[in-house]
């Protein structure tokens, strides 16, 4: 009996080590986590769930996955709209600007930088070197601004705006390798291998407000439908094949 007890303790110890190393790896998402679009307000990272509301960044501990515990609330500002997690950073989109938070201490996200822009709604996605932001305005978002902005975030404490291009009504966006997919008046595909000179290379004639790029699968949601495409790249650029569309 005693041996069994020791064995149990030992197993528990090993298991806890394993979960520790999982969280330390700081991957974009583990296979146990799902994937949201760019308009998401939730992101999972290590042993934590981060959620933005209108004003704050909320931190929940997932030490026990089934029972999240509220651990912290960090005031960000006003009209916070989206949250995107990449590596050890959180990108927060608001109607007044983009904020980058560091997760050196996962329970206390630290504000590293902020870029301000005119009042407009703005989802953001990022990779190792750049952050991509779409600004669009409608009745509630003020100003007549419809722009794709690209920031150099090699220095996360000092993002530098390197490109700004006018679009029609850009909303959700997603990265597919060197390509950026943007929901505009159609779903536009930009070659961003040189991010300071984004190049429109293809477009899908669908109106959507958000996308998820999962491997080669593109899932787009709009007011009138749910659309799926298979993406592929070649020397010429990027191609797509329609898989399904569900009318709403």
């Amino acid at each position: 009996m005693k041996k069994l007890f020791v064995y149990l303790i030992f197993t528990a110890f090993i298991t806890s080590c394993e979960s520790d190393s999982d969280s330390a790896s700081g991957q974009e998402s583990t296979s146990t986590d799902g994937q949201g679009g760019s308009l998401a307000t939730f992101t999972l990272k290590g042993d934590y769930l981060y959620v933005v509301d209108q004003f704050d960044l909320n931190v929940f501990s997932l030490g026990n996955t089934q029972e999240p515990v509220f651990v912290n609330k960090v005031n960000v500002g006003f009209d916070i709209e989206t949250l995107f997690g990449y590596k050890d950073y959180l990108y927060v989109g608001s109607r007044t600007g983009m904020f980058i938070y560091g997760l050196g201490d996962p329970e206390f996200p630290q504000k590293l930088s902020r870029v301000q822009h005119f009042t407009a709604c703005d989802p953001v996605v990022a990779n190792d070197t750049h952050a991509y932001v779409t600004l669009h305005s409608d009745t509630f978002c003020g100003n007549d601004i419809n722009v794709l902005e690209i920031y150099d975030v090699n220095e996360v404490t000092q993002p530098v705006l390197i490109s700004s291009r006018n679009l029609i009504f850009p909303r959700g966006l997603g990265l597919y390798g060197n390509y950026l997919i943007v929901c505009d008046d159609e779903i536009k595909i930009f070659d961003v291998s040189n991010p300071s000179e984004s190049r429109l290379v293809n477009a899908i004639d669908r109106q959507a407000f958000d996308v998820i790029i999962s491997g080669d699968l593109l899932i787009a949601i709009g007011e009138t439908g749910l659309f799926q495409y298979r993406l592929s790249t070649s020397q010429e650029g990027v191609a797509y094949t329609a898989l399904s569309s569900i009318s709403i």
Binding site: T32, D33, G34, Q35, G36, G37, L39, A40, T41, F42, T43, L44, L49, V51, D53, Q54, F55, D56, N58, F60, L62, T65, Q66, E67, P68, V69, F70, V71, N72, K73, V74, N75, F108, K111, F140, D210, I212, S214, L217, I219, I221, G222, E223, L226, Q228, R230, L243, S244, I246, I248
Partner: protein, 184 residues
Amino acid sequence: MVILNHSKKPLIMKTPYHLLLLCALFAFESCCFYGSCDDDFDDEPLAFSQYEPVFLSRADLERSIQLGEPVQIVNSGKIYVKDDLLFVSEVREGFHVFDNSNPENPIKIKFIEVPGSTDLAIRENVLYINQATDLIAATFNFSTNTLSVTKRVENAFPELRSPDGEYAYDIPANSIVVDWKLKN
């Protein structure tokens, strides 16, 4: 900037302050909007939003989460992917669940009813959902048709504002705003 909270109940100190500020703003704004401060405001002085709030009692809110059969998508919201499952938010009503193992033929298999919700995230078999002011965690297994709420963090998030940015007034006791509908 950081409000550390050691107790389990979140401190949302901002809400009353914003409410106050809002009241002050409206008191002031009404003068500017209607030209003269001598006007009579008795005609629904607070009818500033084009929307009216939808309330649920806390007890009903906590009973409201159910796994049901698929329904029509009406007001599509955010999307989320987990393995072969695709979730589409029905804004402030719940989530449509698709079996997307074949993206050429996604099949709608369930509807998760969660009044007041817009967002979710999934780790393993646990759903995290914002339900109006609350964060909930629920385990799911669609093949056995089970969904059970394992945790509810009350009042984690601020009260739901109308799409035109207003707060509800005259909220019934122990009730939560779960939606806003356009006034007739």
